[in-house]
Symmetry: none
Subunit: 232 residues, 2 copies
Amino acid sequence: MKQILIIDDDEKLGELLTQYLSRYEMQVHVAMTPSRGFEMIKKLKPDLLILDVMLPEKDGFEVCREIRAKSSIYGQLPILMLTAHAEVTDRIVGLELGADDYLPKPFEPRELVARIHNILRRTGDDSTLRDIKPINGIEVDTSRREVKLDGNVLDLTTMEYELLILFMQYPNKTFTRDELMNRLRGIDAELFSRAVDTLVSRLRHKLGDTSKTPRFIKTVWGRGYTFIGEQI
Amino acid sequence: MKQILIIDDDEKLGELLTQYLSRYEMQVHVAMTPSRGFEMIKKLKPDLLILDVMLPEKDGFEVCREIRAKSSIYGQLPILMLTAHAEVTDRIVGLELGADDYLPKPFEPRELVARIHNILRRTGDDSTLRDIKPINGIEVDTSRREVKLDGNVLDLTTMEYELLILFMQYPNKTFTRDELMNRLRGIDAELFSRAVDTLVSRLRHKLGDTSKTPRFIKTVWGRGYTFIGEQI
DNA sequence: CGTCGATGATAAGTATTTGTTTCATCTAAG
DNA sequence: CTTAGATGAAACAAATACTTATCATCGACG
């Protein structure tokens, strides 16, 4: 379970994200002020910091700067900045404050999740989202978003790619359709449709995995799907 | 398949949820009274209890309290309370009755599903069952729904898997066919046939357990079946 | 706006699982 | 040893779940 710390004085947002991110094996903690934030970083050692720009005491830029300055204390804590307006983003990037990413408000929760995943993947944080090991002829370079099957580059859509990544992170784990939907879309969606099946079908097709004895994605009847890790 | 027990005297709601939740790999059982509820908890060992506040005999708060008090009997059964009005929710939370969540009536079925998922995710492994100790060469990883026999992954169907899990949770316990069916198929499953025998036979076959001196599943003549624990 | 690609929904077709029947075989008890 | 009842397993039937083609929808992009 990833620990996410949010420094933001908007209580509502905190609650929202707490609930929302819990679906993604993330536990959210909220600090309303920077000083409380620093405290909690030391205590909690979160895996990611989400930092609002508009804060009491001092603004988010300043907080970010401090954390980077005292890297001996705070380590390479990945930081995602929430900016009030898109224009400011240039400033952040330009000033090289050391944030790992930024996201202009208002944002789609789904977008946030995607960013978080990206950051955690980039920064090489182990516990959940490590680099993806080549399995059975599939190599994934997450930094380039490139997938190779037996040496040939595959052209995958966003969903297909995310699905593959998810599968490869947990080889041999059986996912229910529900789980897959939640992880990929972030909604406790009504699942009357075969959306997941369709997606799997498309990915299988691109992986050339259409035979009856699948090489990659196995159907677990009455349950879901499994990405095959070792050989059976 | 998750087993959900509802204690609620509103017949309509029970039916509705039975139908609705069945789409989400949940099997719903309804107890109209608390006393019947307690009975069914023991018999059924549900994965989640949905508890209405307005009940005959005693109210839902009381039921919740009792269950938590007798945790040795009922374990850490997750409880979702249905409250008639939003205002009461404060009371529930404030009193720390031990419910895991609450939901004010009337509610959207979809919202209920989301809550259920959240609770199940929070309170334990998503795949419902506690850890299962390796026995006699069989290892089960419930979070991955993976079964290994002497190191080799087994390909089990839903029923076979559920049966194995059930057996391994109670090694050396002799189950009657009735018990097995109740646990696997729901409480009022009436079978006019030898479905259990067939199921056992199939599982035995996949376990390579067909000899006359079984390694895993022993037939207790005139009674039922026993999963053999450590020593023979 | 109109096109294109990606994704979601639907439904017909197919596959697998599960329940039932049946019969050979087995067990316990006299 | 015999028998009535119980069990194992094969074969078939019914129920259930999955696949995929096709169409609809949505959003990005010019």
